[in-house]
């Protein structure tokens, strides 16, 4: 099928991660808000992780496409 699922997954987690990072930065220092998460600004850290995961997925998808494109001309020669 002509859709590499890593693109939508990558973009979505990058967006969600970025949202959490921004929210985490805005709310950093609000002790009352983070009482539930044992005083850890978990939005910021988990957001960073999701952002990294999203970018990794995008990188893998991009690399697969680059490989496919460089492989196609050779196949045509054959």
């Amino acid at each position: 099928m002509g859709l590499d699922i890593r693109y939508p997954i990558g973009i979505m987690f990058a967006i969600v991660g970025a949202l959490l990072v921004v929210f985490g930065l805005i709310t950093s220092g609000e002790a009352e808000l983070y009482r539930r998460s044992l005083g850890i600004n978990i939005n910021l850290w988990w957001g960073l992780l999701l952002l990294a995961f999203g970018l990794l997925m995008l990188f893998l998808a991009w690399r697969a496409r680059a490989k496919l494109q460089s492989a196609t001309p050779e196949q045509q020669q054959n």
Binding site: M12, F13, L20, G24, T27, N43
Partner: protein
Amino acid sequence: MQQVQLAWVDYAILLAYTAFVIGIGFALRRYMQSSSAFLMAGRTIPAWVTGLAFIAANLGALEVIGMAANGAKYGIMACHFYWVGAIPAMVFLAVFMMPFYYGSKARSVPEYLKLRFDERVRCLNSISFGVMTMMTSGISLHVLADLLRQLLGWDYNLCLWVSAAIVVLYVFKGGLTSAIYTEVLQFFMIVFGFAPVVYLCLKDVGGWGKVTDTLAQVAANPQSLHLANTNFPPEAWTSTWASMSSPQNNPMGMDWFGLTFGLGFVLAFGYWCTNFLVVQRAMAAKDMTAARMTPLIAAVPKMLFPALVILPGMVAVALAYMGKDGFTLPKKPLEPSAYAQLMPIVQEAAAQRAEVAAVYDRLVAAAGMPLDKEKVAALIKDHAEGRLTEHQLKERLQDAVAVNDYNNVMLAMLKRYLPPGLLGLGLTALLASFMSGMAGNVTAFNTIWTYDLYQAYIAPNKSDAHYLWMGRAVTIAGALASIACAYIAKQYGNIMDLVQLVFGFVNAPLFATFLHGMFWARATGHGAFYGLLGGTATSALFHGLTLSQGNEPGIKGAWLTHLLGAQPVHVFQSEMAQNFWLACFAFSVCFVLTLVISLVTKRTKSDEELRGLVYSLTPRITDSGQVWYKRPGLVGIVLLAICAVINIIFW
């Protein structure tokens, strides 16, 4: 349950997720040109995608909520559903059964049965499977809508219809491909959404060592949390096998034989190896190797999921026992009608300064469930002295309920640990788990309906465009049937047990039919058909004759003996034990019946017709030239070894 307020960021995450799953459906829309593209994903998908979809379709909302519930109720023994009840069956499916499903070019599991046996077996299987998928998705739809109502105060009907509509939209547009692709996205969503809860709850309680210490005390005194009425050995909540010598020693009420044979063999193999919901994912893979690798790739996360879904339930029990920050296990909610009956009795008792013993039985009858006697006494006393407000009185009555609402344990943990932001992520994960489960059911149902019922019996020899249209139409019809089932499911209590019961009725005998079909060329259509009927009848009979402790005859069993005015033939320690043993009996009857009838009836299919369908008549797949991770047999052995080690670690 106390409701929570969502912040803008929570809504933004929910919205982003919804937009992407619908977007995937629309992006795939232009590829849906034929019925096989729509219903079978054109057999073009790589193994890692089908593998993650395979496990996500299984990880529905019922699984997440039900397994956290089981973790609280039964402790680490709930892991048996994974380490005994899944991994061996998944490896068996990959190594031995996928070659027949994929190689025979059957488009569905019932169609394999038609090729191997005859039309009757296919018809029986497709109808029972269709009913089962609709029931399962209806139940999970109900659970989700009910949770959203309790947690966020959203309207039950609105939640039900909107979440079903989203699933229908992306399946309608992109068919099985879009269901599989969104399942991969949902898989990651579920993992990332629940993982922070696991980390935070373990950190809060003081680590795994503290959990086992506390649960040992709980086992000695489970009454304090209304977990059970009898005491257990200290390792009951934290050992998988050590407390299995006798049903009295563990909260599941199971012995090792019933568990290994009933769950590990009959139910697990019946589910993983014959359930089209999961097998369909593997059948959509791009080639034979990818199809066989699908269940094996899925087995890796499956082995680790107990940490994600069972552990929070166990930690919840430990936290409740420690009373950390006043944490309690969620209680069964009292209905408004129950309050209406309870209030006057409490007012009367307080006015007369009556002893609690005088009104306790009336209160329990009015509530419809057991109440904590001391708490009731205290609230009557307080009301008599100081007149509590109506609101306070309601809260105290709810607090006095002595029945846990295990299905709310996961939500209670999400609420306790996730701040705004991650709460949105956790809720999205819950929604994702629900959607992956429902999409799995809907896509399996529309394939079975279109190919195995509609094309086979109602309208054969129509154009492919017609079947594509039918596949789309039945996507909507199936969703409507699920919604109807959701309203029916509103009536029943412990959902997981009910689903297990349905699986027992339908799935347990089925694996015997497949075993004979795939590994014994002599098995005949008559044998398979009457064996299956006999097995299912045995399920119903067994259920009608036996009961489990603490249950009334009726939906929970023993309806037949009740009808005849007799005592149940046997009373099991728990519903789960009853279900496992039911499966054992149904399987055995089907196995023996198929064997005997096959021997006395004539074969209708020649060796030539059975090529590719039966083990002894099919050329072996040789994969010795491949690298090790592309050899299903080898990977399967590695996975089984790892699984055995995990069992020993948590013995």
